[in-house]
Symmetry: C2
Subunit: 388 residues, 2 copies
């Protein structure tokens, strides 16, 4: 694996999707499954390059042990599926929901399996579909598991997606001034990123292209999953925490920084420094074979030892891929080792009510001998004190 | 119920949410349930006014027979939930996913029920959560059912949401010219609608505020769920089909028209007329007590009798509410009568490859003595031939 990956903007070749299918079938074989059914739009997209959103008319991808998988889809969407799918598929359609008796998706679905089969389903499958699944049904997240290690193609797509958030983040730091409302940052930066996505990928799939840019000023920064009013103004000083995230034609990434407008309040220096050291500790441990729970535990210890145990609200990081949040998790409950080809966030945070939040986050690729940070923005306190 | 409803932009009062809870408990009692568990973010929003998106950390709303419902939420999101929820709730939190053994959501969740209870769950609940649900578990869509009949408050919110798509649709008809790319329509009109939403509702919840504006030109119009490239240009003549939809601080509506740029091709006159008559037939039948399947069957007959049986791809309509697509369905498979307080689309369509699509859609409220159309745009062929 090279240290630098060229950005890729093209849709996947059939060979890429064939490799994914092969990997899923290996996992199916390990679990002794005759079929695997995917409902989760994220997994269907991974396998086919077709993205849908969930509505009352389900799309179900049925993968047997060989041959082309079967896509059970609403009639209305058939050409839509065919337009985007880039693998071999057998199509079976149903007319509408609800349909007259005998013609509903749930009338057709069970007929697509050989009798007495062992069928794997996702834990995310709605129970209403799971209960219509015939055979000996096992819940096992086979496709989610296949997604954990990225191919060279996926790394190229993620590298490109990171160039989009790099652009957006540089703009955030450029325009952010005391008094500027949240909504202005969002619309200016999100608009710029979206425009660039469609310049780079004119046929990008709109369903799975989203850009977001926000800044949490000190007043709300202690609450990282708060969702502020768009009128919320930026403040003097800081800490301000930026959140720049994108799903670029399917590929999710993020870039976040703790920064200051004009001056650093005295009380902010220590927590910034502790966050910075916790983050450095995480990077120090990033290489194949490291235990993900141990990384989180070690990073937490840096924060706890500095006296901020009560200021921890979340784990050290999470995976990326065709979502902005997925396995593997750098969390004390995770039972997994780091492997080359994982992409993760590194984002230990400190949250203090009345002061704000302290968190940097990057999108990072694990390589054979360590890691490459795919996002780029200033990191040190000195670089992150912005002129106002 | 009055013929005209004043638009409402305020969040729901506690009394509104209390009424919803009361209705859900009536339905629970009919099904002899001790608890009902909601995972679906749409239903959680309906009950609490708190909207989340699905990630690996679930939010679970547990409704007992009395007292405040319990919200099991990730620690990280506690203040976020509290900021938006406008009903009484008991909070139980868990730290992160995954968490150390014994501290995961699935360790805590089963302890929140009395032993040997009868527990209702949604058909949309992921099977991975359903399998962790204790007691005698029944799949029954109680909250979805409660949502079918709208309160005066909800009708006021929907009325306001319709004013947003009215604005957007007028702009589509104003700017649409041959050669104009899809992406320009989208960004101009969607931007205008979003801006108006946040002017009207400065604290609108961004998670559940979305606006979309597209036009299917003749080349792709036969494929209504196609998703075109943003570079797709508008054409001379038509039929063009507009899709203007919004979720306005939670409330979903749509407005669509078949229109022509400059001239009407001769082959388009008959299908437009048939669509227009099919639609008129639907409106003629809109009043409480009518069978939804019978409406769809009657409307289909208009289209079939005109020789366009093969040009039907979908039902006559669907419900609206806090989504843009929900029960009840005006579909030949639906088993339900119209009732006052339902909000539905009326949108029979005709789709002809090589010609395009023919469909108008409105957001319509069923009243005690008929209906009120809540969206407004030109309807006749003459009005929909636009100067270029």
């Amino acid at each position: 694996m090279n240290a630098v990956h060229a950005p890729i903007t093209a849709p996947p070749e059939k060979t890429e999707l064939d490799h994914r299918l092969e990997r899923v079938r290996e996992l199916m074989a390990e679990r002794n499954l005759d079929y695997y059914v995917s409902f989760d739009p994220v997994n269907v997209y991974y396998m086919t390059n077709f993205a849908n959103y969930v509505h009352e008319r389900p799309f179900l991808l049925i993968i047997g042990k060989q041959g082309a998988p079967t896509m059970l889809a609403p009639l209305l969407e058939l050409t839509h599926v065919k337009m985007r799918a880039r693998c071999d598929l057998e199509y079976v359609t149903y007319y509408e929901f609800p349909a007259p008796e005998g013609e509903n998706w749930y009338d057709i679905y069970p007929t697509l399996f050989a009798e007495n089969s062992r069928v794997g389903i996702e834990s995310a499958m709605p129970v209403g579909i799971a209960r219509r699944t015939p055979g000996d049904v096992t819940m096992t997240d086979v496709i989610d598991e296949a997604r954990v290690i990225k191919s060279e193609y996926e790394i190229g797509r993620t590298t490109h997606a990171c160039s989009i958030v790099d652009l957006g983040h540089a703009m955030v730091l450029e325009i952010c001034k005391p008094g500027l409302p949240e909504g202005t940052i969002y619309s200016a930066v999100s608009g710029t990123m979206t425009k660039k996505v469609f310049e780079d990928i004119p046929n990008a799939n709109f369903f799975i292209t989203k850009t977001a840019a926000f800044v949490w000023p000190p007043t709300i920064g202690h609450d990282p999953h708060h969702f502020p009013s768009l009128a919320t103004p930026m403040e003097d000083g800081g800490p301000h925490v930026s959140i720049v995230a994108a799903q670029v034609d399917g590929y999710g990434v993020e870039l976040e920084r703790t920064f200051f407008l004009g001056e650093v309040p005295e009380h902010a220096r220590k927590p910034f420094d502790v966050m910075f050291r916790a983050r450095a500790k995480a990077y120090e441990m990033l290489r194949p074979g490291q235990d993900l729970a141990e990384i989180d535990a070690t990073v937490r210890r840096v924060i706890v030892d500095a006296g901020y145990e009560d200021s921890i609200l979340h784990r050290t990081g999470h995976g990326f891929g065709i979502t902005g949040h997925e396995a593997p998790y750098l969390a004390i409950g995770e039972n997994r080792l780091l492997e080359a080809g994982m992409t993760v966030s590194i984002e230990p945070g400190i949250y203090r009510e009345g002061e704000g939040g302290y968190r940097h986050s990057d999108t990072v690729l694990i390589t054979e001998d360590g890691y490459v940070c795919l996002t780029n923005a200033p990191e040190t306190l000195e670089e992150l004190i912005l002129a106002v």
